[in-house]
């Protein structure tokens, strides 16, 4: 088993290095000169001061040294948590711009993924043994998963925000308020958070429920369930075993879902104008802010890699079949 994890770690490590390198290369290969854009932005018309400014910015962004040195500097800076300076939010460092947006994204995605997983699995398991629920709730689940997310999100925003007017349709909090640790502000945050959260919760719910229902039915029809029943085991025991075995692949699925947590809410954040990483990513692209773009992508890459590794670990540990298979020594 140790060998398996060492190999996985190696693969993830290599993926990380390659991803970071690509991350380094892409903005530099892109057309357009970020410094020139900074200068036009700050409308520096004077040629002389423009030259001075260019020198200053080149130095600041570390663009005045050979490429290989830039690359090494990039890595060195990375390990110090220095992701450069944002052009779009100049002079804020990329790391702090990202750190400001990250909590919004996490607050949206973590609860929606976890809650939809718990509720979806419970619903699916119930549907597997209840004809009424199966015939009633499951078609709704199918519709929900089939509807394009964008469409659903817009519909929710329209109904909840405009038609009923219960919820605000844009922003992370009211612009009238300044962020503070007060009840008013927290309530306001929650008020803004609810619709985007609901949209994510609802789309994910159907998928988990349908998956769980099919898994439980499969387990209930498997040989070991039949054997238990032939020996007179009560339904309680048979269902408990079936549920436990059915939930194993769902746990791996959850870990994989969490992998997209960091970059996963792009559409949501755009539709609800929510100030998370997704919106930030869009801003970075629109403003050709390559350093910020780099920083965000790096976070996404790290998120995906960490949670995928977690999924691998969970997958192996949670199921004795895979766990024992690995202890046999083969990878």
């Amino acid at each position: 088993m140790g060998r398996y994890f060492r190999r996985k770690l190696l693969i993830y490590g290599l993926t990380f290095i390659i991803a970071v390198s690509i991350n380094f290369a892409v903005p530099r290969l892109m057309p357009g000169d970020p410094v020139a854009r900074m200068l036009t932005r700050n409308s520096v018309a004077n040629l002389e001061s423009s030259e001075a400014m260019r020198g200053y910015f080149n130095d600041l962004f570390g663009l005045d040294v050979p490429l290989w040195k830039q690359y090494l500097n990039y890595w060195a800076a990375l390990f110090q948590g220095d992701l450069g300076v944002s052009v779009f939010a100049f002079p804020a460092p990329v790391s702090s711009v990202v750190a400001d947006a990250l909590p919004y994204t996490l607050a949206l995605l973590l609860p929606s993924i976890l809650l939809s997983w718990v509720v979806g699995n419970a619903l699916g398991a119930m549907a597997a043994r209840n004809k009424l629920l199966d015939n009633g709730a499951l078609p709704i689940g199918y519709v929900l998963t089939a509807v394009p997310y964008m469409w659903l999100a817009i519909l929710l925003a329209w109904v909840g925000g405009i038609l009923l007017g219960w919820f605000p349709v844009a922003g992370g909090y009211s612009f009238a308020l300044t962020p503070a640790f007060t009840w008013t502000f927290i309530a306001d945050l929650f008020h803004h958070w609810f619709l985007p959260f609901l949209s994510l919760f609802v789309v994910a719910l159907g998928g988990w429920a349908i998956g769980m229902r099919n898994l439980v039915i499969y387990e209930l029809e498997s040989d070991y369930s039949n054997y238990l029943q032939a020996l007179g085991a009560p339904n309680r025991l048979v269902r408990r075993y079936a549920f436990r075995n059915a939930v194993l692949p769902q746990i791996t699925g959850l870990a994989l879902q969490l992998g997209v947590v960091v970059g996963g809410a792009l559409v949501t954040e755009v539709v609800f104008a929510y100030p998370g990483l997704g919106s930030l990513l869009l801003n970075a692209i629109n403003n050709q802010d390559f350093f910020l773009l780099q920083g965000i992508l790096l976070f996404i890459v790290i998120g995906v890699l960490v949670f995928n590794f977690l999924a691998d670990v969970v997958y192996v540990l949670v199921d004795p079949r895979t766990r024992l298979g690995l202890e046999g020594g083969q990878s």
Binding site: Y227, A230, G232, L237, P320
Partner: protein, 317 residues
């Protein structure tokens, strides 16, 4: 009389109509008797075995009775049947290799199963270990997951588990088909030992391997298209069968290594009838070399001698 089955009818509900997998099956079993159940694939052997312990969702009990040790089994009533399962009737299923929950240690699963039936694992543990050792397994398998055991070991675990509560009747469905020759012999001998040691009173051994069942069975029943066509002592069935179908099965076989399977039956022209709409009269008629006009009506069950019953018009000739 341990088991007395009378006119048992069990159908499968399908969209095309009822498949009459068991169409009036009658037989009886003495205490301590091992009966082999043989017949072509699809003739209803598994259906018969399952009918005596648990009907699956598509099976319907259409008539007939099964009386075990003087009590009628509530075949069609899944809930009422539960009290009899494992304690009075038990089964070693055709799929023994996958019969154990893959994510539970064997000991833990056994404990949970016993507890759910109101039995104490602690009280039965010594007996369980003793029986495991009897089939050549150590106590350690209780700490193993099924995946850690070989196919043969899993089969033996299932054999011990199924008979742990000393059922009166055991149904062993194709227990040897998935094993190699050495294991087949060991399993067959174990079944006999279980009977001799009183773990089970009587046994129905469903099989494709006539030579194997000949070695362990006292009696052999031959099934054809949902009915029992001949029943006699193992010796008689192999040496002097009376029913044309049994003869076709046996006669074509070499004396040693009596082995039969579907390949053998290809030498009998034709196929068994479909059980959706079985023909009237003798069901073997289309393929029978002796068929004549009288065979268009249902043949009577004739006792050609004590304990030898044949359902054929020509049985006495």
């Amino acid at each position: 009389m341990a088991l007395e089955v009378e006119g048992l009818k069990v159908h499968y509900r399908t969209v095309k109509g009822d498949v009459r997998a068991l169409d009036g099956v009658s037989f009886s079993l003495e205490d301590g008797e091992i009966v082999g159940l043989a017949g072509e694939s699809g003739c209803g052997k598994t259906t018969l075995g399952k009918s005596l312990i648990r009907l699956d969702g598509r099976m319907r009990h259409m008539g007939g009775t099964a009386v075990l040790d003087g009590t009628e089994l509530p075949i069609g009533d899944d809930r009422a049947m539960n009290a009899h399962r494992w304690k009075e009737v038990s089964i070693i299923p055709q799929y023994s290799m996958s019969a154990l929950n893959p994510t539970r240690k064997i000991g833990k699963m056994t404990a949970e199963l016993l507890r759910s039936r109101g039995k104490s694992y602690r009280e039965l543990k010594d007996e369980l270990v003793r029986r495991l050792e009897l089939v050549g397994l150590s106590e350690k398998v209780l700490d193993n997951y099924p995946i850690e055991l070989s196919g043969g070991m899993k089969q033996r675990v299932v054999m011990v588990l199924s008979t742990l509560l000393d059922p009166s009747l055991l149904i062993a469905d194709e227990v040897t088909s998935a094993l190699d020759v050495t294991n087949q012999k060991a399993v067959a001998e174990t079944l006999v030992r279980f009977r001799d040691m009183g773990f089970v009173k009587s046994m129905i051994v469903v099989t494709h391997d006539l030579s194997l069942v000949y070695q362990i069975a006292d009696t052999i029943m031959v099934m054809y298209a949902g009915q029992i066509v001949e029943k006699a002592s193992a010796e008689t069935i192999i040496k002097s069968p009376k029913h044309p179908y049994t003869k076709a099965l046996i006669g074509a076989l070499p004396e040693v290594g009596l082995e039969y399977g579907d390949e053998r039956l290809k030498s009998i022209p034709g196929k068994p009838p479909h059980l959706l709409n079985p023909p009237t009269g003798c069901r073997f008629r289309d393929r029978c070399p002796l068929a004549s006009e009288e065979c268009e009506t249902e043949p009577p069950k004739v006792a050609v001698e004590a304990g030898h019953e044949v359902s054929c018009w020509k049985a006495v000739d």
